[in-house]
Subunit: 376 residues, 2 copies
């Protein structure tokens, strides 16, 4: 009996809201997963990540296997204990980061040999090894090891890549074994070619997974091409399982993907952009480095309930960013993650009440107005 | 009627415990003031600084006058509001940092002309300007503008420097004016020469201040020479006013100074060392960069109640420090500031109960044992 289950509570059009249940806690969907690459969501205490409303976060297998190593994390009691986060964790397979090590990796049917970006040491990542690492980490949601097909790709390249990923998906499933408290997600590939997406979806369904990711998007194709794929790809996947769009994205990417039937997201944008002075808000992105904030006593967003907006002026955020103070990263990351979770909560509530169209219209209208400067 | 007052509750030998009352809150003494140079205690949320037990923090006039400027902070409602800290703030005069700008500053009887380390712009700092800046910042405890006599100094240099600081102390008092809700502290100079320390103390007492700092120490003379001065200098200052030893120090410096009658301290050590991986503990300093922590499941200090020690292993602290993660600075700074405040609380309680000698003996014994490695 599997102790991981997914239930769709309401739908509106293709959009769904529900709950993905795991032994470590429920994940309300549509869900956004903050990225905790190296066993920390950068510049955030885990209590603060939870306070933003996150039900789950993502860890990166590639980074953790190299440092501090999966073996060490297992000896220390697993990733949850190590990083002081007791809610669910999803780990990627390591494949995406390894593939991007151009010149430092060799891809074969067996897997990928690569050199560490930290110390140049040699490593081998295969479906079996990825499953072993993710088990040692104690990941609640394990991702299949796959190749993220580069974009653009010829049909031949996309076909070969996808089919190898499907063989790797079977090997991942076999290696994962019987773990009732943990989920294994397959990953659909097929580039932007509908019949390849269908072939991939069918192959994954034949193997059978607890959830299905849509891979190979958000790799440079642009929002229009991504939405074109999302117009059909989610519908190829089982309705009764969660659908996860990997590495997405900007707020408007997420809204469009939710409208198209996606349930889960992850992206470094809110945390990474926070560290470079960029705030994500309902008004769009606001750059706190800009000198116009220097004397602005207003909060970043007057309607935001996050600690940053409750307690600090734009002038302060500008000052601490210019002074390279760590609190600049702390405050902007907190705000950005809060905004993302508030957006997800808004989407969930709108789907539940059948008002998603109004919600999306208001979302776009507010962004079109943008930030309103203070005139002096 | 002055709304700032100091009351000594108990003494043991020369050591005192009491309360410095200000309209923004009481400061329990002996007190340690974390340093918030640029309107932030680095890597800490102000709520976290308060949670460590800090009653007051220190802001740096030099840094704030250059960026974001005192004028801007005043327009924005003062430093407390700007940095979201509603307890008392002490500001230094800017003198110490300006004097250390070797080659970029010119000292005369009027004051100091200098160039900004940020953009090379020219500035002028005088007793009058320092008082103006500290008023604009909204500082609760204002420090006189003085020259921190370099160490070592000939008697002639030390005499001239001290006497100019005393003339500046009078100018500071005159410029400070009548501000019943704010305190002005004088600063004793005189290097390591007893009769100069006496002359300085007498000059300051003639002018009359709300508190008295012992300046010109912790500038390279070493603990032994510092304690030699502290054997007599505090006793030259009024018993009914707080005594503040500027820029001190290491935990054992503080303990020795409290035994010699000092009430207030500030130092960047707990925050700065936290950012370089050094933990301050009752066992002494522990370097988290050391590879011996790599597999250590123990907390930094098993007897410490801070969030870092409650929730994280040494292995985690080592990992995030090696990975240059911001949380490494956050967690170690929090621990270090917690340790310092716990030390101050221990000193206050020991003086109150007449057990200071036992407390100090236990303090030194535990440090002599040092950290106990796990053998495997």
């Amino acid at each position: 009996m599997k102790n991981v289950s997914f239930k769709v509570h309401q739908t509106q059009g293709k959009a769904r809201t529900g709950v993905l249940h795991t032994p470590r806690g429920d994940i309300r969907t549509p869900a956004f997963m903050p990225v905790g690459t190296a066993a920390t969501v950068k510049a955030m205490m885990p209590e603060s990540v939870a306070a933003t409303g996150a039900d789950i976060l993502l860890g990166n297998t590639y980074h953790l296997m190299l440092r501090p190593t999966a073996e060490r994390i297992e000896r220390l009691g697993g990733l949850h204990k190590f990083m002081n986060w007791d809610k669910p964790i999803l780990t990627d397979s390591g494949g995406f980061q390894v593939m991007s090590l151009t010149g430092l990796r060799k891809l074969t049917e067996a897997g990928v040999k690569f050199k560490s970006h930290i110390d140049g040491s040699e490593h081998n990542l295969t479906p079996e090894r990825s499953m072993e690492i993710q088990r040692m980490l104690g990941s609640d949601i394990v991702m299949c090891f796959d190749e993220c097909t580069p974009y653009p790709a010829t049909e031949e390249v996309a076909t070969d890549s996808m089919r190898m990923s499907m063989r790797w998906a079977q090997r991942s499933k076999d290696a994962f074994g019987d773990r009732p408290d943990h989920a294994l997600f397959g990953i659909q590939q097929g580039s932007t070619i509908p019949h390849l997406r269908q072939e991939s979806a069918d192959a994954l369904k034949d193997i059978g997974f607890d959830g299905y990711a849509i891979g190979g998007l958000a790799v440079g194709e642009g929002q229009e091409a991504m939405f074109d794929v999302l117009d059909y790809a989610p519908g190829m996947l089982p309705e009764d399982k969660p659908r996860y769009l990997m590495g997405v994205g900007k707020p408007d990417d997420i809204v469009g993907a939710v409208q198209r039937g996606v349930d889960m997201f992850d992206c470094v944008l809110p945390s990474r952009s926070g560290r470079t002075g960029q705030a994500q808000t309902r008004m769009g992105a606001v750059n706190m480095r800009n000198a116009r904030h220097m004397d602005d006593p207003r909060p970043l967003d007057e309607e935001c309930a996050c600690p940053t907006c409750q307690n600090y002026s734009r002038a302060y955020l500008h000052h601490v960013h210019k002074a390279n103070e760590i609190i600049a990263s702390m405050l902007l990351t907190w705000h950005n993650l809060h905004y993302y979770q508030e957006l997800m909560q808004g989407l969930r509530a709108a789907i539940a009440s059948g008002t998603l169209d109004d919600f999306v219209a208001a979302f776009h209208t507010r962004r079109a107005i943008g930030d309103i400067p203070v005139y002096g």
